[in-house]
Subunit: 461 residues, 2 copies
């Protein structure tokens, strides 16, 4: 275990100079990752499969390209872990679900294909909560093994937080990229809805792929290399932006969002977040809160039932798929997932349509208020990762074993891009702060995040 205060994040972008001039190589970089994995993985348990041989072959090819001065992209040779919901041609895809234990479709998700085209080394599959829901896998938080890494992109976030890989791919429907990233000290991008081609993962209307990384450089580079090759989702132009990390951009005005999560935030986390805001104000950034402007209050109200809206939309959209899994293999699905399915099957078409209407109303409010500020800022999680010691036999299932997505539901339902930054530690554990923009402002949010990360002092609370 590494104490978070001693965390020295593993990055990739600053290694490639050495690949080119011969002081380092993609293969050597990979071997360092494998050494860290040997040390950390027995406790962190981030992976369901590691393809060492394939990774070494890919890294050797990358080493040769760099040496020849012909890398395929700036992420050529980057070891990447792929959330185990996405198909990979060389590793099984278990989806965190017993029913998919022997699932090995031997094909690449579009984003995985794009990463390979860019020369990235597809090293491992990362643990996902079951079917991308809330039933947790074995992964522990890299900074405290008694705590959850968050989910459902549990392994992706923990692998990056444990320095086992510099970047990983996660997916989010409600809060599955940003929450675990915030608990594990990652930077992460949850793109505008449709930003990155989901390939076969077209399950729900508000799901996205996104990168976890230990630096904004690596985060952005992974995202743009995928989008440049595989584009966005079907029917979406997808992520468009500069070919390397956007320039740092200081915001003039930021909306401060409470969301429905504010009452649940502990005092230390609140104090830490206020200390971040204080630094922004001191830097000359105007902060606009719900009491300051009726548009902010209108947005807060439109997202006040964000968790319920996201849960309603998503469980309805998954119901036929999940019914098929349960019918074919009743023992292969957890009681927690079955309870979600039961809730979905109790919904009517009109219940779903009302949830969609709530979502579309909130999107309209959000787009209307675009001129008010450069972005919104809020916590990326309600506090440090909670302790998770497993369900207690005979007791009701715990409600949120991978933590609460209350701060993530808004951007998910708004289809809005967010970047989380590890700007705070609370009780010695990472807590993320996120900026949220209008749809298609992914590059702008990354530029704002860069300015904040370069300007603000990390806060301890």
């Amino acid at each position: 275990m590494t104490a978070y205060k001693d965390f020295k994040p593993l990055t990739f972008h600053d290694s490639t100079k050495g690949f080119r001039d011969g002081n380092d190589s993609a293969r050597a970089y990979l071997e360092r990752c494998l050494e860290t994995i040997a040390k950390r993985e027995p406790v962190v348990k981030a992976f369901t499969a590691i393809n060492e041989d394939g990774a070494r072959t890919a890294a050797d090819a990358s080493s040769a390209r760099w040496k020849a001065g012909k890398p395929l992209s700036p992420i050529d040779g980057m070891p990447v872990a792929i959330k185990d919901l996405l198909e990979t041609k060389d590793m099984p895809t278990g989806m965190g679900c017993d029913a998919f234990k022997s699932n090995f479709p031997k094909r690449d998700n579009a984003a995985v294909w794009a990463l390979r085209q860019a020369g990235a080394v597809i090293l491992a599959k990362a643990v996902t909560a079951e079917l991308g829901g809330s039933h947790p896998g074995a992964t522990t938080n890299p900074f405290d093994a008694t705590r959850t890494p968050g989910g459902s992109s549990s392994g992706s976030a923990a692998a990056v937080g444990a320095n086992m890989v510099p970047a990983a791919i996660g997916t989010q429907v409600g809060g599955s990229i940003i929450r675990p990233a915030a608990y594990c000290g990652n930077y992460a991008l949850k793109p505008t809805q449709g930003g990155i081609n989901r390939g076969e993962r077209q399950a729900t209307s508000q799901s996205t792929h996104g990168p976890h990384a230990n630096s904004l450089q690596d985060m952005w580079q992974v995202a743009i290399e995928i989008a440049n090759r595989a584009g966005g989702d079907r029917g979406a132009v997808g992520l468009v932006g500069p070919s390397t990390l956007p320039a740092a951009a200081k915001p003039s005005r930021l909306v401060v969002l409470e969301t429905e999560g504010w009452p649940e935030v502990d005092a230390a986390t609140k104090a830490g977040f206020e200390a971040v805001l204080k630094q922004l104000a001191e830097a000359g950034v105007t902060l606009i809160r719900r009491k300051d402007h009726p548009w902010v209050e209108a947005l807060e109200q439109s997202i006040a039932n964000g968790r319920a809206t996201c849960n309603g939309v998503t469980s309805w959209e998954n119901r036929w798929y999940q019914r098929g899994i349960v019918d074919n293999n009743p023992e292969g699905v957890s009681a927690r997932a079955k309870a979600t399915l039961a809730k979905a099957e109790a919904m009517s078409t009109d219940d779903y349509r009302m949830a969609l209407m709530a979502r579309e109303n909130a999107q309209r409010v959000h787009s209307t208020m675009a001129p008010l500020a450069d972005a919104a800022i809020t916590l990326a999680c309600p506090g440090p990762a909670p302790v998770w010691s497993g369900d207690v036999p005979g007791q009701p299932l715990a409600a949120r074993p991978t933590g609460d997505f209350v701060f993530n539901a808004p951007s998910s339902m708004l289809f809005a891009p967010v970047v989380t930054m590890p700007l705070m530690s609370v009780g010695g554990l990472p807590v993320g702060v996120q900026v949220m923009g209008q749809q298609h402002e992914d590059a702008r949010m990354t530029g704002l995040a860069r300015w904040m990360s370069e300007t603000l002092k990390p806060v301890s609370a």
Copy 2:
């Protein structure tokens, strides 16, 4: 074979009175369908699987419900064929592709589930062109076995045209519902994009499920019963409308669209279509052509490359999925499908984005002109179904073995609802005429189609 002039379409809606009063039953209706199948199927070859036992069990249950005065819906007991791209729990799903020969996922597509909930009898799987593309299956046109039934919903259209079932489910990405329906004398609805829940078939951004039937009553009833139970696609409110066939509605003004297909239409078909328009004019409907109003000309221009736009969008969106199939089973995919994949793999992300931009521009033009007329009217196919005698060994593959979708690309790329009606016969074969509305005007288009079908005299040319 039945000559089209002698065609007495098999309908369902007018049979249920007998189910209730005991003069007929759902089981007896099914048996009549099975008798027709025994006669026609050896030549028409509409089906890949027929579940006689399951259908009889379902029909008996339906008979009992009608007798008890408690049908689940107006389509309780209706024998329906399902395009073999959609999963059904009791029949294999072969997708017209050798690579899926043994595919039997034992689960129901959301629309199939909804049909069962409504009491419909899921009788058979209907032949699809390979993977919903253009490589044809064995099905022949029910009115001339030397001709194509159209595709890709070949079996769905032919089964209805041969009176083997009163209704069938098809799917359309470019022209796969409306074209075969028009060639086989069906009524059919290609709904607004997102109108009917596609379940696991979320492959492409402009695909829809839709009903083929021998009457507008059955067509509408099938659509609304599905939509009321399974809603629309993920993120879409889906089809909303009256619980039975909308009232007949006479249009005041109709835009007459040529599309890029007009130069390809033969003289007899043109004369037939003009005869339909003449009847409309005589009934007092104002017809607005491209020479009459610049908005119509603008729409014509925006859809002038509709085939290329649809092909570009769709082949790109399918490329990773199809690459996976080919990599896993190179012999299991036709040369025709492989050629489409090769074209997709030659596209860049920006090529795709330009196709999307063309599509979105056309949609904007179309929505802007909404107040100009009640609907647009055009041919549903360029003429009667062409002869198809198979590819010639050693020769290049025929370009469009299931016919040309040139009159269908516009509504597909516009996400617009269309209803095709069997208003014409040309050279003794059916040719459809379609009305197209603004998005979400499915019920209005059905009401216009009802008025036309009840008012206009069928045209022979």
